[in-house]
Amino acid sequence: MLHLVLFSVFGLICVAGAVNLLAQRHPINSALSLVVVMGALSAEYLLLGAEFVAAVQVIVYAGAIMVLFVFVIMLLNAGVEERTGGSRVALLFGVPGMLIGSLLVAWVLLHRSGTEAVSIGALPGPPRIIGWLLFHDFLLPFEVTSILVLIAIMGAVVLAAKPPSAAPPKREG
């Protein structure tokens, strides 16, 4: 019972944040609603017992990636979005289309799934076991993602650096 109540509360916050992201016209409001979604998702992970994932979600996603988004919005001084012809068409077809699609998925999930249920805090294990898995069964993906992050760092630094000025230095005299 408590599990259902908590799940519904945080689920509603998630969905409200997601819908707010779509409804807001200024990107900073969308970014902050996304932070709220991530916080509520972290609470959902806690309900499932994945405490380490919940903490990492807050530290990495809400505390680093979204800060990066907020920085870029502040730096580029992004303003309110204007409506163009293309966006009106997309609104007209996209929103009802997605509503129909998600209703279909919801119907399938709720009617065909049987009686599987998840109890509160279902996942076993302290973070030690996750570390074990990361370094034994998933060692190759772990090393590959570290190379991926290195490539991403180099790429981001190169892409965002100011281009060198094209004018040759003036000569005196």
Partner: protein
């Protein structure tokens, strides 16, 4: 204990902890003004009450009665929300900080901690990461160039030093084997050779401690890393356009962050509440709290001492220091600690 009792005890603990924390914030302002004053060969506050002890009350009354003006060109929702965000996240991290052993009051076993999560250290790191939002949003929503620059610089600095902070804490984590703050403190009990306590700073985390301290000074935007809010540089940085109570909230957030950092340093490196314990049962329950508070006080004093003594870094020097020196040093500390622990096991 039943869930009703648990909730009641938790609410009482929260009320007491918040009250103590807010009083500590107010009096750490007093302590800073006195200590910095004496370092600079002047008295500090002396008029209001004996030794100026009522100065925080006077400051509070002043902030309450000051005119709370909102400049016309600010982005209102975020302008009002940013100080609230800063204060909320500064005060939340007290929830996982243990100040003493488990005491038995009226037959109930109550740990002196609002909640003992087994990922306590990660929660503190997460809350510190979220605290960047208060600064960044304050700087942006004020719609003025000093604020924006100050806000961007401050948040970039906080994000950069968070990495070194986290890595220095992993050394402690490897040595204690658990994320739970209570378990980390309990693994520091006992003595070597009878009198040297088995604190983490003596069992090899000295480099980690210094990295933590430097990174924490940068995280809380204190001298020598306080360029984003220094008066001579950027007027007042991200809180230029704030007045009265909202400014007081940023102030409170900064000092509450300082206190959290000092608490974490004692818990992780200096044995938390371990110290000589003697006497009857009531003393045995209170002495750990006393040792904890004493160690936190020593750290606050060091914070203020550094503030009164060192000059500040220029911004590019600050960022270069964080990325090019502190981060490799923290990684080296982590590797050496891991090697030693693995070889010993």
């Amino acid at each position: 204990m039943s869930i009703g009792t648990y909730i009641l005890v938790s609410v009482i603990k929260i009320v007491i902890a918040l009250f103590v924390l807010l009083t500590a914030v107010a009096y750490s302002v007093w302590l800073e003004r006195k200590v910095v004053g004496h370092i600079q060969n002047r008295w500090g506050p002396t008029r209001v009450g004996p030794f100026g002890l009522l100065q925080p009350m006077a400051d509070g009354v002043k902030f309450l009665f000051k005119e709370d003006l909102t400049p016309p060109h600010v982005y209102k929702p975020l302008y009002i929300a940013a100080p609230m965000i800063a204060v909320i996240f500064a005060l939340t991290s007290i929830a996982v900080i243990p100040i003493g052993n488990v005491v038995t009051i009226a037959g109930l076993e109550i740990p002196l901690q609002i909640t003992d999560v087994n990922i306590g250290l990660l929660i503190v790191l997460g809350i510190t990461s979220l605290g960047v939002y208060g600064v960044a949003l304050a700087g942006w929503s004020s719609n003025s160039k000093y604020s924006l620059l100050g806000g961007l610089r401050a948040s970039a600095q906080m994000v950069s030093y968070e990495i070194a902070l986290g890595l220095s804490l992993i050394g402690v984590l490897i040595m204690s084997g658990s994320f739970s703050l209570r378990a980390i403190v309990e693994s520091q009990g006992g003595h070597f050779w009878g009198f040297i306590p088995r604190w983490n700073i003596f069992t090899g985390q000295i480099v980690g401690f210094f990295i933590y301290l430097i990174a924490a000074y940068a995280e809380t935007n204190r001298i020598p890393f306080d360029l984003p809010e220094a008066e001579t540089e950027l007027v007042a940085g991200y809180h230029t356009e704030y007045s009265a109570m909202k400014f007081a909230m940023f102030f409170m957030a900064e000092y509450a962050n300082m206190i959290t950092v000092a608490c974490l340093a004692t818990l992780l490196f200096f044995g938390g509440w371990h110290g000589p314990i003697f006497g009857p049962a009531i003393l045995q329950a209170l002495l750990p709290v006393f040792w904890f508070v004493a160690k936190v006080f020593v750290f606050l004093f060091i914070y203020i001492w550094v503030r009164g003594t060192l000059p500040r870094f220029r911004y590019d020097q600050l960022m270069a220091f964080g990325w090019k020196f502190l981060l490799p040093l923290a990684i080296a500390n982590l590797v050496v600690t891991a090697l030693v622990v693995a070889i010993r096991a």
